[in-house]
Each structure stands twice: as structure tokens, then as C-alpha cells.
Symmetry: C2
Subunit: 188 residues, 2 copies
Amino acid sequence: MDVARLSKQDWLTAALGALAQGGVSAVAVVPLAQQLGVTRGSFYWHFTDRTALLRDALQWWEQQGTIAVIDQVASIADPRDKLRELFRIAITEDPVSGLEPALVAHADDPVVAPILRRVTERRVAFLTEAYAELGLPATRARRQALVAYSAYVGWIQLRRATPDALPEIVGDPEALAYLVDNLIGPTG
Amino acid sequence: MDVARLSKQDWLTAALGALAQGGVSAVAVVPLAQQLGVTRGSFYWHFTDRTALLRDALQWWEQQGTIAVIDQVASIADPRDKLRELFRIAITEDPVSGLEPALVAHADDPVVAPILRRVTERRVAFLTEAYAELGLPATRARRQALVAYSAYVGWIQLRRATPDALPEIVGDPEALAYLVDNLIGPTG
DNA sequence: ACCTGAACACCGTTCAAGT
DNA sequence: ACCTGAACACCGTTCAAGT
């Protein structure tokens, strides 16, 4: 019988888990190799170096996390409903908890920067469209999109910064509704 | 003549600079020692270990950065003016650029967690008071404080995530005014 | 095709010894 | 009081060799 051998995806999945938990520095070859039950040498058959692992893992996340959510709500006709559902999914599901804060913190990282920028621009553009559909003029729609996206980013970061304090952030549905009302903005 | 010798504060200052630039993992003994022109061994006379350096540096930042700003605006009588000035200082000055995102990303870190939590709670409490002075009932004031603080955190993080894109975030005073109007909230 | 094992450079930590 | 210098453990990377 053959021993179980690893695929590239096994490394990517492990890397994303480590990234979310311990930040960019936790994407470390030796600990991941131990966790996967192989030696460090085997890593370098799948990837050229640690940077390549990080880049590929983030690109995979970009596909799965970002684009999937937008696809999920893009078909909702009413812009108000669309925004509500978008924020609800983004705030309550948070598929890989802690990943986004880890990325923003390493915004200067040459691997992280281009991916984070693409994701941010895509999301802000999508929000801007939705606010335009709500009737806001172009400049106003873009500014509202920036403010709403800022509040979203800040909210999920606060939730991490204060795990047991500030209980409204984690649990209270009324506080969440208050946030979403604010995100939907002046015409909501 | 005596050779220049280092104080604890020299290490703290160097550590905060490294932290802001490269995150928690950049607070590294050997690179800092090289930068300061001493050997690694000398570090361990001033601090028990790397963790102590990080902790002391963050406590110093907590004193200087957080409390100083609140003191600076606490005397402003009109709550609307107070909030405007607070957000203006917090958003435009950003004394150690990139420090806060670095901290939020390592919210799980046992050194970072308690300090980040104290700072967050102090700021949210201060905002809550100001919104109460503006006439919001207690629960509403607290929720508005959370939303406003989220938007503030998200905004400074967006600014880092997209350095040359999204130019409104960095430069445009009108976009900033739009943000502050939103932060000041329903009665602003 | 996928992995081991040994090698080397770099950082965290300790500690005896220096001034 | 403050620092050096050598030691050891740990992680990133390389590469020849194994199956």
C-alpha cells in the first residue's frame, strides 16, 4: 500500500488556517510540515518557497471568499435587499475568521498588497453600484460605499479586538440591525 | 571617553518603529540590536525577553497615543465640536502609521490582547459619553459609538490597504467631511 | 511524482566573562 | 551598570539521494 501523499491543496488549506490564526508569520514551513506529517524538504517540491505558498493561498481565498459572496447576492433585484443580504452574509458568516485583519495588518507585504488591493477595490466598486441603484449620485454613492465598507471592516476587527467585552458586537441582533441601517445609509 | 550606552527607552522607540512598519514579528532582537549598534546579548540586560520588549513598548504607546488625544479634546464643551475635533485628530494625524492595524491583526496575541482591549474600551466609552451629551439615549449612544468607532478603524485600515488607489481616502477633504458627518451620526 | 535527510544561514535565549 | 561572545535550539532554503 502506498503511503498517503500530499497535494498542493493540502498545503494551501493548512496555510490559510495558520494565517487566520496566527497571521502572516504563522505561515511557517516547519510547523506546517509537522502538522501535515512530512518533513520540511517535501514542501519544496510543491512550492518554490514560503512566499509562493502565501501567494497561492491568498489567491485561492480571493476566488472562494470574495467572488463567491458577490455572486450570491448579485441577482437580488432590489438594491436595498441586496445590500442588507450582502452585509448580513459578510458580517455573520466570516468564513475564515481573522483572515482579513491579518491581511490588512500586512498591507505593506509585497505578497499581500496586490491581492488585498484587488479585493478591496472589487468590493467598493460593487457597493458603489448598489448605492447608485438606490438613487445616490455618482460621487455620493462612492463616498457612501467607502464609509460603509470602512464600518464593515472596522466592525469585524472590533469583534476580534474585544472577544468577550463589547458584547453587542458579537451577539446582539439589534446592534447588528443598527449597524446595517447605518451601512445602508441616508436613503435606507 | 565613554562609549554611548543605551537606555530602555532606546529599545522601546526602536521596537515601536519596527512594529508599525513590519508588524509584531518585526520586533526582533537581532535586527534591532544591529540597528542600535550593539550585540544581541545586551538586549537581555534591559529586558527579560522579546515579549517584555513588546509589552513595554505597547504600554508606552497606550499612554502617549491614546490617553493624550482624549485629554486634548476632553475640555471642548460642545459635544459636536468635541467629536469633530477628535475624529479629525485621530484620522489625519495617525502618529505611528500602521501601528493599529498591526495590533488588531494580532488580537489573539497574549501580549497584544489586554492592551488592545483596554484602548478600545476606553475609546468607545469616551465616544458613548459624547453621543449621550448629544442627546442620544444610553443604548442608542453606545451603538452609535460602536458604529462610529468601527468606521474610524476601517477607514484608517482602508487607507493602508489601498495606498495609491481609492484616492478619496487619503486626500480628499470633502470625502473626509462626508465620513465625519457620518461618524457624528443621526443628530449631527 | 513525491519525499527524506543532511547541510547552512539566521534569530531567540542563556550565561560566563569583560569594562 | 551595561555590554561582548560563544553556545544551543529552531525555522527557511537547498540539494543529492531515495522510492
